[in-house]
Symmetry: C2
Subunit: 231 residues, 2 copies
């Protein structure tokens, strides 16, 4: 069936593993990739501790990854958007290191690690892109560390919005207006803030005319002012 989804016609290809592969090479990659059944909101994609046999690439929708602390509380460590690849942090010992849950209806591709490794021996571009994607995640994670350690609640939230905005832009979506698929509590958890603080700062940013927030919908009215607030 030609209507099936393929890397060759996937709009996220430039962010995902096919980046820099030739059409023929992309076709090769495509043969090892399967579509995963669609997830509904709250469905778990992977459990922490589960054997890691596949990486997952997000086609549409979004997810959050979290670990559990000693009292069973969530510690959100990532939000995944289309084009993101999930599972790299488990390659160290072949186990997923976190729970990953859909925030809305979500479509995914399933990439068998075994075949991916074999193919990467053959394709230098794929090898390079694998390292690039992991490196990017590592860099993002370390940058976030710096941000959280050294910035106020307002700076963290401004940074969160600016980062989301630019991620949407990369994905060909509007960077000015977007929907927060996660709750305020999720945002707070991710940024190390209480829900109340997130809420208060959002209303304050709105009063200052920097953003307009209507429930889950965010409009960035003055990107440059918002960016200035991250520093």
């Amino acid at each position: 069936m030609t209507s099936h989804i393929h890397c060759q016609n996937c709009s996220m290809a430039t962010l995902c593993l096919p980046y820099l592969l030739s059409p023929e090479q992309t076709e090769k990659l495509d043969t090892i990739i399967q579509r995963h059944r669609p997830l509904q909101k709250r469905d778990l994609l992977v459990n922490s501790g589960q054997k890691l046999s596949f990486l997952y690439a997000v086609r549409s929708g979004s997810l959050k990854s979290y670990t559990l602390d000693s009292q069973g509380g969530e510690q959100i460590i990532d939000f995944h958007l289309p084009g993101d690849v999930i599972g790299f942090d488990g390659l160290i010992d072949g186990q997923h290191r976190s729970y990953t849950q859909a925030l809305e209806t979500t479509m995914l591709c399933e990439i068998p690690i075994q075949s991916l490794d074999q193919l990467s021996a053959e394709l230098p571009g794929l090898r390079k892109q694998l390292l690039r994607v992991m490196s990017g995640e590592l860099h993002a994670s370390k940058t976030l560390l710096g941000t959280l350690n050294h910035h106020s609640a307002q700076q963290r939230l401004a940074n969160f919005l600016v980062t989301l905005s630019s991620r949407f832009k990369q994905r060909g979506l509007s960077s000015r207006e977007f929907r927060l698929s996660m709750t305020r509590a999720d945002i707070g958890n991710y940024l190390g803030l209480s829900v109340e603080t997130v809420s208060r700062i959002l209303t304050q940013l709105q009063q200052d005319g920097v953003v307009a927030v209507k429930s889950k919908l965010v409009e960035i009215r003055e990107l440059e002012r918002l960016r200035a607030l991250t520093l």
Copy 2:
């Protein structure tokens, strides 16, 4: 000269890239690796923005990596011990993403990225270990995120000491007694705490008999109690 340092006789080989390579394969890896000139305390290994042509493996000593914030302040994002490989976060665009500075006299190996990539096409074990090491770093970074976001100053510092202890153990050094090559200010910066808070908590842990601290020297007296304090 046979007294030269080689991967084949390096005590850090099990943590570093040679892990899981056969003696012959390790020898191949060794041929592309150069020794770097020794660094003295405060010497910079790399500057942020500098072209990334080599990864660096720590042979002995230690370093810190940091970025600069908008006011020129350090944001420490990593401490590197022997066996660690430095530079992975720059593969995304071929630039180092942080400053890396020696905390004491430090010996390093220099690994040309170009040759490493070529060799990894040939050696599946090397490919795997590259991904493992990056994955481990990614996991550590995300775990730290969770720790900092959701834990008190005491929990953060206890976690820091426990983590350091287990890293020293992995390296065949004492996990009970070790030297902090970084200053209290560095620790605070890394954990998102003020120097004063770090100092106060260390004295408090000492009064409680969990650790004994004499300037830079730390003795962990009751590891299990310290571990309990991280939760």
